[in-house]
């Protein structure tokens, strides 16, 4: 029953999306009224809502006659993780994808943008929506009926049942990925829309900011999930799945910067970056969901591959053709002086695109290596440490220079950089003398101090009088990224870890932290068996507490997962993982690690996201003020004042 209903909603969605694409095309070509097209777009959203609701109902009612529930549901699974299991496997997560995409389409459809630009952009969004409905309906229909229905299911992947971040991380990530469809659509629509298209950048910026903020939060939460669940003590492994989220973030960040100031000078950059961001989303979807790239997380083979690859190629082709048709207006005015924000924005763009290219090459290289060299290869973290990391440090230094670029007077600019520069050198000297973190980490510390001191100076001085929220948003986002850099550099330079087998009563130390094994306890319940090691943890300050990392075995999926214990502190985390337990229960193998400064990563990520949201709110407030003042005629291409 639910199975048929679900399949019907997908079919309805496909119909609505196709209809929407055609109706919006009619609006664009002959200027037909937009109302029917808008209704069709609303129909897409309603279909996606209905599909998600149907699958959630099936999951919550344990209706194992539905394929997705038979594969990912389970009677023993807590309600929260039953709800999140919608997006814990491929087919269900496509429904969430459709829901978010449908939401963006409906929001965009309600806007009062210049008619032809709006209509062409909606054609693009509707076409993308239709494609994903096809994908879900034909290749990955979660609603297929199962005969006979099993009595119970295995539950979602045990790793995805361990952390509350599972509830927000994928939706946020999708909100980030799919929000980028709007700037993509506007960039494609602009050359088609003629005069209506001139204003696309100003319209695309808020959407990009929203998507970027969600993507930043999503990536941060993903790192947190990885740190808290996987038990290896790291938060980023340069895995294809992770890289797929980083790539669009990099180009979207570049886009947010090239649209600053006088963006009309960088028309080519803006179009290319807006297009590339969503193309990278599609490429990432192809790479991670088709089984094309072996990820440590899973090797999936699915029929989605060829269809997704087709979409990626089609989208690239369409963007290339339309980009070639773009208006070639001569750059207005005289060129930027060499030392100016315009130049800084360009260098920033070049750096971000280069990092993205290096990460992209590393990610797809294993895919290309097999046909080229005849053997499968993997690209290790060392590759990224040599390409992306040094470029990121240069980027950080560039960030530190920005406060000085606002002033025209060169002496004044240098004066503004004096204090941050001194702070950076002092940091390098002190840190270098006290410890040996290695050259990359030391440079990162110095660069981060440069940025943070500059940000503090701007906050303290409230320079330039006007408390423009966009400016503070930038300061906030940059400070957040500097904190992330400190966290990454600190945790990779100073982390200590040790692995040992302990008999009951024995102690192991890592740095100035020690654990003593008190007992090993086994228990069953809730459909899984678990064994936990009770430990006495003694911190550097002599504080004692009892912790119990566990190994949990899920018979339904025949997998064991480790449940680490993390004692979080502002300065450092103590991370204990239970690796193995002897059969007689008399000893346990443990990994004890001390990871300094990891909490800065989460703080920095939150600050950066906050910066994005502040810019979004500030932009909205400014637009409202302008609308009130009746000055709706905004000059072309002015996004954010220089």
């Amino acid at each position: 029953m639910l199975a048929d209903l679900g399949t019907a909603t997908l079919a309805a969605g496909l119909l609505c999306a196709t209809l929407a694409a055609l109706l919006w095309l009619r609006v664009a070509l002959v200027g037909a009224p937009a109302r029917p097209a808008r209704l069709a777009t609303t129909g897409c959203l309603l279909s996606a809502v209905a599909a998600c609701a149907a699958l959630e109902t099936a999951l919550l009612r344990h209706d194992f006659g539905v394929r997705f529930v038979a594969e990912n549901g389970g009677r023993q699974v807590p309600v929260f993780y039953t709800v999140t299991s919608l997006w814990s496997a491929l087919d269900g997560s496509l429904l969430l994808w459709l829901l978010v995409l449908g939401g963006y389409a409906a929001l965009l459809a309600r806007r009062a943008y210049p008619v032809r630009l709006h209509a062409y952009a909606m054609v693009v969004v509707s076409a993308v929506t239709a494609f994903f409905f096809v994908l879900s309906h034909i290749a990955a229909n979660p609603f297929r009926a199962v005969h006979p229905a099993p009595l119970d299911g295995p539950g979602p992947n045990p790793l995805l049942q361990q952390h509350p971040a599972m509830g927000v991380h994928p939706p946020l990530l999708y909100a980030g990925y799919l929000g980028l469809v709007v700037p993509f659509a506007l960039a494609l629509a602009a050359p088609l829309a003629g005069r209506d298209g001139r204003d696309w950048l100003r319209l695309a910026r808020p959407w990009t900011l929203a998507a970027w903020s969600a993507l930043t939060a999503g990536i941060g939460l993903g790192a947190w999930w990885s740190y808290a669940v996987l038990g290896w003590g790291g938060y980023w492994a340069w895995d294809p799945v992770e890289n797929a989220s980083l790539l669009p973030w990099l180009t979207a960040t570049a886009f947010l910067h090239t649209t600053l100031g006088r963006p009309a000078r960088r028309a080519g950059w803006n179009r290319a970056l807006a297009g590339a961001s969503f193309l990278l989303v599609l490429l990432g979807t192809f790479l991670t969901r088709s089984g094309a790239v072996a990820s440590v997380h899973a090797f999936t083979d699915s029929p989605l591959g060829p269809m997704l690859l087709g979409l990626v190629l089609l989208a690239v082709l369409a963007s290339a053709v339309l980009a070639g048709r773009g208006p070639r207006r001569p750059t207005p005015g005289r060129p930027d002086p060499l030392l100016s924000r315009g130049t800084a924005v360009l260098i920033n763009g070049v750096l971000l695109v280069t990092i993205a290219a290096a990460v992209l090459i590393g990610t797809v290289f294993p895919l290309l290596a097999e046909p080229l060299t005849g053997s499968r290869a993997s690209v290790g973290p060392g590759y990224y440490q040599r390409t992306a990391v040094p470029l990121a440090i240069v980027l950080l230094l560039l960030m530190g220079v920005t406060p000085a670029l606002r002033v025209r007077d060169r002496a004044e600019a240098l004066r503004r950089l004096a204090l941050p520069g001194a702070a950076a050198l002092a940091t390098v000297a002190v840190v270098g003398l006290l410890s040996r973190p290695g050259r990359p980490a030391l440079t990162a510390f110095g660069a981060a101090a440069f940025v943070l001191a500059g940000a503090a100076g701007q906050l303290a001085g409230r320079r330039a009088g006007a408390a423009r929220s966009v400016r503070w948003a930038g300061v906030l986002a940059h400070a957040g990224l500097a904190l992330v850099a400190v966290g990454v550099a600190g945790s990779s330079a100073y982390s200590q870890s040790g692995e040992r087998s302990l008999r009951i009563g024995e102690t192991m130390r890592t740095g100035d932290v020690s654990v003593r094994l008190l007992s090993v306890e086994r228990s069953t319940g809730g459909g899984d068996m678990s064994v936990r090691a009770r430990l006495r943890l003694v911190g550097a300050d002599g504080r004692q507490r009892t912790v119990a990392p566990a190994l949990r075995y899920h018979p339904a999926r025949d997998t064991a997962v480790t449940v680490p214990v993390i004692d979080t502190g502002l300065r450092r985390d103590t991370y204990v993982t239970l690796l193995a337990v002897a059969a007689d229960g008399g000893s346990a193998t443990l990994r004890l690690a001390v990871n300094p400064l990891v909490s800065l990563l989460w703080c920095g990520g939150a600050l950066t996201t906050g910066g994005g949201l502040l810019a979004l709110a500030g932009g909205a407030a400014r637009r409202r003020r302008r609308a009130k003042a009746g000055t709706s005629a905004v000059p072309v291409g002015v996004g954010v004042p220089a």
Binding site: A89, L159, V296, T300, D301, T387, E499, V561
Partner: protein
């Protein structure tokens, strides 16, 4: 105008070249190739390079000796002894597929320093694949 364009093209060329050097240089030393036990055992130069070795952990071959783990890895009818320092992941088991990373020593024993096991293994071969926890 023309001078500016030539300047720009030169700049782009230089940037591309620099990027190319950076990427190829980094790739050269950090690539790890996947090999099978048979390939490693028959290749006389195999002891020089670091490789990833995939295969099934032969049932009954797993021994633990202090913090050393010794087992045999089989693929396509050839077997190789692997000696790994440190504890393999909790999902590592006899009869399961595993990928190890390390180098072949001259005594014909593969010294691994890393064991990778697939997360999210599906035990039902006919079922749909688990998604790579996107959650990451």
């Amino acid at each position: 105008m023309i001078r500016r364009r030539t300047g720009r093209i030169t700049l782009v060329g230089v940037l591309l070249a620099a990027g190319g050097v950076l990427v190829t240089g980094a790739l050269r030393d950090t690539l790890t190739y996947y090999r099978t036990p048979g390939e490693v055992l028959t290749d006389p130069g195999a002891t020089r390079e670091r490789v990833r070795l995939g295969g099934e952990v032969v049932p009954g071959s797993l021994r633990r000796d202090g913090d050393l783990v010794v087992f045999r890895l089989a693929a396509a009818g050839r077997e190789i002894t692997v000696r790994q320092r440190g504890v393999p992941p909790e999902t590592f088991r006899e009869g399961e597929d595993a990928v190890v990373e390390g180098t072949l020593a001259v005594d014909g024993i593969f010294r691994a320093d890393q064991v990778l096991v697939r997360h999210g293994n599906e035990y039902r071969p006919s079922a749909a694949p688990t998604e790579p926890p996107d959650a990451r």
